[in-house]
């Protein structure tokens, strides 16, 4: 008798899993049909693959930490005239294909290595912010009342200060280090998700299936975690994909304002553009334009992917 029970639950789980897999494959199929979104997906994945490669073994990309890189460059693979800003050239190996920036640092490997830093930071920030915001938003909207009103006022306050300025102020107060910048961004970022999660929960809360779950004796906590949050997740994921680009841009902006004293040789897109700015007036455009275009392609592909996901995950279109 017990064996039958075990077998039954196993089969149920398998069915559930296969349904989920099918759902996922269906989503993938829909994205592949949307050519623009698919292109966005491929480019975004390529950026993440480069970042992951850098995590596995930095030597494959040549540069992980530019202070090492300088020693490396002045050692074996040193290209003598590259101590200044040199234009893109095909003559000295793939390192110099996109030219060099200040200190003769080759742009291409530096740019690829920068992805590790930038993408890690932005995924960290957006993921943590989304988790905090999701839980606070859904719980407060589900219970409503005074908690909800208080939460709305708090998010209002956070929305009433531009993110860049608030992040600057917080980072300044708690100390300008890499971790603190991430923390400052998280403090700025969660209210967006709280507001989004709240508005979605309000529309789900009164649906029939929640009432049915209540009638079946499901607790509030169970309702929130098993019924509300899965329903909220897909629009939140769209916002998530859009924000990853925004955070990288904002971080580059912070770097540009010169208030992030991380290791000066840490590969980072904003830092590279700041270096390039000095040489722009001498007509040496590549040092700032190439990293800018690299960042631009990432932001565009991520937002194309987000738009595609919004269409694909929309239940009205799935039918």
């Amino acid at each position: 008798m017990a064996e039958v029970e075990v077998f039954r639950t196993k089969r149920k789980e398998e069915k559930k899993r296969s349904a989920r897999l099918e759902d996922f494959l269906f989503t993938l199929k829909l994205i592949m049909h949307n050519r623009i979104a698919f292109a966005g997906l491929i480019i975004t994945l390529a950026y993440f693959v480069i970042a992951i490669i850098d995590y596995i073994d930095p030597r494959w990309l040549g540069v992980s930490n530019l202070s090492d890189a300088l020693a490396f460059l002045h050692g074996k693979a040193y290209y003598p005239s590259a101590t200044l800003v040199t234009p893109p050239t095909l003559a000295h190996g793939w390192y110099y294909w996109l030219g060099t920036t200040e200190y003769g640092i080759p742009i291409l490997p530096d740019m690829l290595a920068a992805l590790k830093v930038d993408l890690t930071l932005s995924v960290e920030i957006v993921l943590t912010g989304a988790l905090i915001g999701l839980i606070l938003g859904t719980v407060s909207a589900y219970y409503g009342g005074l908690i909800d009103e208080a939460m709305m006022r708090i998010t209002d306050i956070f929305f009433s200060i531009p993110a860049l300025i608030l992040a600057l102020a917080i980072a300044f107060i708690i100390g300008l280090t890499f971790t603190n910048i991430a923390l400052a961004f998280i403090i700025v970022w969660w209210p967006i998700y709280a507001r989004l999660g709240r508005s979605l929960t309000l529309s789900i809360k009164n649906m029939n299936f929640i009432e049915a779950a209540n009638a079946a004796g499901s607790s509030s906590a169970r309702n929130i975690f098993y019924h509300v949050i899965p329903g909220v997740l897909s629009p939140l994921f769209v916002q998530f994909s859009l924000d990853i680009g925004t955070v990288v841009q904002l971080f580059a902006a912070l770097e540009f304002l010169g208030v992030v004293p991380v290791d000066p040789f840490l590969p980072e897109l904003g830092r590279m553009m700041v270096w390039g700015e000095t040489y722009l007036i001498y007509g040496k455009w590549w040092a700032v334009i190439i990293p800018a275009i690299f960042l631009m392609i990432f932001t565009i592909s991520v937002s194309l992917l987000g738009d595609g996901l919004r269409d694909v995950l929309d239940p009205r279109q799935r039918r």
Binding site: I157, I161, L164, I165, A253, L257, I300
Partner: protein, 363 residues
């Protein structure tokens, strides 16, 4: 509910938000190590021992009181206009005076940017949205996406290089100055009374405090023209930054409304297509766009910081950056508070306009 009751309710809801805002800046200040705060009050040339000076500073700052009491002291100081003192390369003096001096410049920048972006984006969004999937639609979308994805400071740098006077010698397109608010060489000596900065003289004639408008009022057309030339590139950069968002939302709204039944009805009645688009579709599509304007205003103020840094434009953004880089806690708090206040009131106006446009939301 009537519109004025809605407005009263909205203004009453402003009170907790404003209290929260001051609480936030207060927490930021209190989160700072006390030693850093006190160190600004220690004079190394004084004959008094350090411990006595520190004790004086503690008493002066009210640090011996419990934290909630300190918050009330902080609020009282804010109301009395005592926003602290800041020292930096850019500005040294009382924070409130600095804000009074530099806020009008930023206001001028944002006013022009908002007007320009509304003037461009509404016709553009209407045109694009009324012809989905046409060449113009694709071009418009690619353009807005590209502008959105380009880092704002890089765009500003490019403008400086291409259109900036003196950025590259012999640049035929270099007609616009790349820094400052107006050409100071135009000011004859002694300085005209109306141009004297508010913290150096009480006898000033700044009817609006905005340089371009003040110059126009005083019939000083050379300065007004110079001011306009100086503001072109920063305004253009700011505008492009928020343009993409408005166009995108307006387009989506237009396409949503295009499918509605009332459009079909209007077409069946034989209403000309131009009037359908202008009076029926656009009017309804503008309603959700207005809500986005509030958020866009936030990104505009955030963008101002970057743009002012690139163009060396003496405004609130530059004041804030310099307060941060010179570790002036009062400067940081003052700027944060002012930006917050501006946004809170901007959102209030957006909400009221929204309620005016769409009577359904006045619940």
């Amino acid at each position: 509910m009537e519109l004025r009751f809605f407005i009263i309710r909205r203004i009453l809801l402003l009170i907790p938000t404003l209290i929260g805002l001051t609480l936030l800046t207060f927490i930021l200040m209190r989160a700072l190590p006390t030693s850093l705060l006190l160190s600004q009050y220690v004079n190394p040339h004084s004959t008094l021992p350090r411990s006595v000076q520190i004790a004086h500073a503690r008493a002066l700052l009210g640090l011996n009181y419990p934290v909630p009491v300190q918050y009330f002291f902080y609020l009282a100081a804010l109301f009395h206009g005592q926003w602290g003192f800041m020292v930096s390369n850019f500005y040294t003096g009382p924070v409130l005076t600095g804000i009074e001096e530099f806020f009008p410049n930023t206001l001028q920048l944002t006013i022009f940017a908002v007007i320009l972006s509304v003037l461009i984006s509404i016709p553009l969004g209407t045109y694009i949205g009324s012809k989905p999937n046409s060449v113009a639609d694709h071009a418009g979308r690619i353009f807005s996406l590209a502008v959105y994805a380009m880092p704002a400071f890089v765009l500003a740098l490019l403008f400086q290089i291409v259109f900036g006077r003196g950025a590259i010698t012999g640049n035929p397109l270099g007609i616009f100055p790349i820094s400052g608010t107006f050409n100071y060489a135009l000011v004859p000596f002694p300085v005209p009374s109306w141009l004297v900065s508010p913290n150096t003289s009480a006898l000033v004639s700044h009817p609006t405090h905005l340089i371009i408008f003040d110059a126009l009022i005083h019939h000083d057309y050379a300065i007004a023209y110079s001011g306009l030339l100086h503001i072109v590139l920063p305004v253009l950069t700011l505008t492009l930054g928020i343009l993409a968002g408005i166009v995108r939302f307006l387009r989506a709204g237009m396409m949503d409304n295009m499918r509605q039944e009332y459009v079909k009805t209007a077409r069946a009645k034989g209403v000309p297509e131009k009037i359908i688009i202008k009076r029926h579709i656009r009017k309804n599509a503008l309603i959700p766009t207005v809500t986005v304007l509030g958020l866009l205003f936030a990104s505009l103020l955030g963008g101002v910081v970057l743009i002012e840094d690139v163009f060396d434009y003496p405004g609130m953004g530059l004041l804030g950056i310099n307060a941060i880089t010179s570790y002036s806690i009062y400067g940081v708090m003052g700027v944060t508070l002012v930006f917050g206040l501006v946004l809170v009131f901007a959102n209030l106006i957006v909400d009221v306009v929204y309620a005016f446009l769409d009577p359904r939301i006045r619940y």
